[in-house]
């Protein structure tokens, strides 16, 4: 219940800062230190991405990160080992973020058990629609994992209700059409999506896709309970993968984001 406790603790104070990292990029041994750096910089929740060979929802930055991680030998089993390692030193909420096929191959029940044992708090499966989610979500919940689903600007009111029904912990709002990646301007479709979701759920709402600067984070944070950054963080990993300063750079970027979120309330 680390996820709910974290959102509860921040309620009325400021929005949560959520960071996505492709696990195993640039190599599995480095991920725990990258997570620690982000946590020092003020990140409240880590989305641990499982690299997949065919990431249809991702833009070029995360596609490239997935390829690097797979090249470095990162499997779903390895990601669980990484989580276990993170858990030895940290209580930061961890959300496993994966495409469905690696999870199916691993086995849903086996994964639910092993993820809990590794200290994972919740699971988000990008291409598992609420229509297909019934059994998988039940198994995950029974094992004690939160199940986070996506809502998007194109979700109808009926779909928003289904997303709310299947989700626990929080709901991930895709703030605009398209794949993951940084954008200059934020989309105007977030505000109506948030008000639509507030009508059907009391769960915290975190928004992502296209957010890359502290200013954008603050802007989104005025509407949502959490702000997710992915590609902007993965790009720092990409550009500094061979540098000793990688951790320092991640920490200082996270610090600039968390500073921008202080004093912002939804």
């Amino acid at each position: 219940m680390r996820i709910s406790a974290m959102f509860e603790g921040l309620k009325g104070k400021r929005p949560a800062l959520i960071a996505y990292l492709t696990a195993g990029d640039p190599s599995p041994v480095r991920t725990p230190a990258l997570v620690a750096a982000l946590e020092r910089g003020g990140v409240d929740l880590i989305e641990l991405g499982v690299p997949f060979s065919d990431p249809v929802a991702d833009g070029p930055v995360i596609q490239a990160a997935s390829e690097r991680a797979i090249q470095a030998g990162t499997t779903l089993g390895k990601v669980l080992e990484i989580a276990e390692e993170i858990r030895r030193h940290s209580q930061i909420p961890l959300l496993l973020f994966s495409y469905l096929n690696p999870v199916m191959k691993y086995g849903v029940s086996a994964l639910a058990r092993d993820a809990v044992n590794a200290g994972i708090d919740g699971v988000l499966l990008t291409d598992l629609t609420v229509e297909e989610a019934g059994k998988t979500a039940r198994v995950m919940r029974e094992a004690g994992l939160d199940t986070v689903f996506l809502a998007s600007p194109t979700s109808s009111p009926r779909r928003m209700e289904m997303v709310a029904k299947h989700s626990s912990g929080f709901i991930y709002l895709v703030s605009r059409m398209g794949v993951t990646g940084e954008r200059q301007a934020l989309s105007g479709s977030l505000a109506p999506l948030i008000s639509g979701m507030r009508k059907v759920t009391t769960l915290p709402l975190a928004a992502g896709f296209g957010i890359s600067t502290p200013e954008q984070a603050a802007q989104v944070g005025r509407l949502a309970d959490g702000v997710v950054l992915g590609s902007a963080i993965v790009r720092i990993v990409e550009q500094n993968q061979n540098s000793e300063d990688l951790e320092k750079k991640l920490e200082s970027f996270a610090r600039s984001l968390s500073a921008a979120l202080h004093g912002v309330s939804a």
């Binding site: 060979s53 065919d54 990431p55 779903l76 191959k105 691993y106 297909e132 194109t154 779909r159 398209g178």
Partner: protein, 411 residues
């Protein structure tokens, strides 16, 4: 609804399941475009004007009905079954793909879309899409893996001549599955004004059902033609299976004809090791790729495996979900032909009948050739889904001795 599927209709349930296969496995952002597409398709299906216009285009533009041809010399050479070919290779643009493209283009126009995107492997679907876009005045973007662009240069040029933009895809294996991923990324970004014209019986519901419906005409015609020519139905029907659109199109109207064996032929490539072929039934296991749950070539960690086939059109890691269901029901059987068997079959068909098949179709021909000698008295029907013009470079590379023999007359 699951489990209520019968061979009589072979219609998926409301969520697109053929038994446990099919369904919709996509990012949430694509769900509403898929629901919009499904609603538009179901409405069009009930509209006589839609069918009349499609029928007119199929007859007067594409060249339907296609002939059914008794291959006497090939049959005599093999000394067994009487072999017939359904001549989809004679259609405009050279393959069955145009059936689906005309249907979906009419649907796109009905939905008010102005921009059409598509993926292509061998380039046949890309050419058919570029063709209908020219016909309807749509902006057209075709995603194609850079490796396939290299293998199918002529089709790249054909698409450009037709006014389409060919967008090279440099990610992953640079083949069909990467082109599909890139088309899905475009669609997820531009769904409002863009129609995604998927080219096979693959992807999320309603595509497998809709693409199948647009190709059913192949089997409907063939069934009537066989009855007229032989006063009986064939003993077996052979069709190659990449995604499986030509196969499901010819199989579907025969599903209730229990005496008709349905045989799908996958790409056996150059070996049985993972990565050397595209035989999903013998070498794969159920999984999810690009919207559908079906038999999939994957590694132990659930990463999608690379595939190989001499034929780009069969070179894909997932088989269409309705085929997975037909296999599970025991209604259709699936086997494979190797690169070499397909090439030899193409050569034999060329020399006995004067018909040069597409490399994809040559896989189906190969299996019919293999079985014909021991099938005396039987009637075989092979779906000749495309012609070989586009494959001439590959035939030349593989039949070097023909290309290098110089003057065929002694002076």
């Amino acid at each position: 609804m699951r489990g209520s599927l019968s061979l009589k209709s072979s219609q998926p349930d409301a969520l697109g399941h053929f038994g446990e296969f099919g369904g919709r496995y996509v990012p949430e952002t694509l769900m509403s475009p898929l629901e919009e597409l499904e609603a538009a398709y179901l409405a069009a299906k009930e509209d006589p004007a839609f069918h009349a216009e499609l029928q007119d285009l199929l007859s007067n533009y594409a060249g339907r009905p296609t002939a059914i041809y008794h291959a006497r010399r090939l049959s005599e050479t093999l000394g067994g079954a009487r072999i017939y070919f359904k001549r989809e290779d004679l259609l405009h643009t050279g393959a069955h793909k145009i059936n689906n493209c005309l249907g979906q283009a009419l649907l796109a126009r009905r939905m008010g879309k102005k921009r059409v995107i598509a993926e292509t492997g061998a380039g046949q679907h890309g050419v058919a899409t570029a063709t209908v876009c020219a016909l309807f005045g749509f902006e057209c973007v075709v995603y194609m893996g850079e490796e396939d662009m290299r293998r199918q240069r002529l089709n790249v040029f054909r698409m450009r001549l037709l006014g389409a933009r060919v967008a090279g895809v440099a990610t992953g294996s640079r083949t069909l599955k990467d082109a599909i991923s890139e088309a899905m990324r475009d669609w997820v970004t531009n769904a409002g004004a863009t129609y995604y014209l998927l080219g096979s019986a693959l992807g999320a519901h309603p595509y497998p059902m809709m693409v199948r419906d647009f190709h059913r005409v192949i089997g409907v015609e063939a069934r009537a033609q066989m009855l007229e020519r032989e006063s009986r139905l064939p003993d077996a029907i052979f069709a190659c299976v990449g995604g499986g659109s030509n196969a499901i199109g010819i199989f579907h109207p025969f599903l209730e004809d229990k005496g008709v064996k349905l045989v799908g032929i996958e790409a056996g490539g150059r070996g049985t090791r993972l990565g050397e072929h595209a035989a999903r039934f013998s070498g794969g296991s159920p999984g999810v790729l690009q919207g559908a749950y079906s038999y999939l070539l994957q590694d132990a960690d659930g990463q999608i495996a690379l595939t190989h086939s001499v034929s780009a059109g069969l070179d894909y890691a997932l088989v269409g979900p309705e085929h997975a269901w037909l296999q599970q029901q025991g209604r259709a059987e699936y086997t494979s032909a190797t690169d070499e068997q397909a090439l030899e079959a193409a050569k034999l068909l060329s020399r006995t009948e004067g018909i040069i098949p597409a490399l994809e179709s040559a896989h189906a021909v190969a299996e019919a050739i293999r079985r014909a000698p021991s099938a005396k008295g039987q009637v075989f029907l092979v779906n000749l889904s495309g012609r070989g013009d586009k494959d001439m470079d590959i035939y030349r590379e593989n039949f070097i001795e023909l290309d290098a023999q110089g003057s065929d007359y002694a002076h």
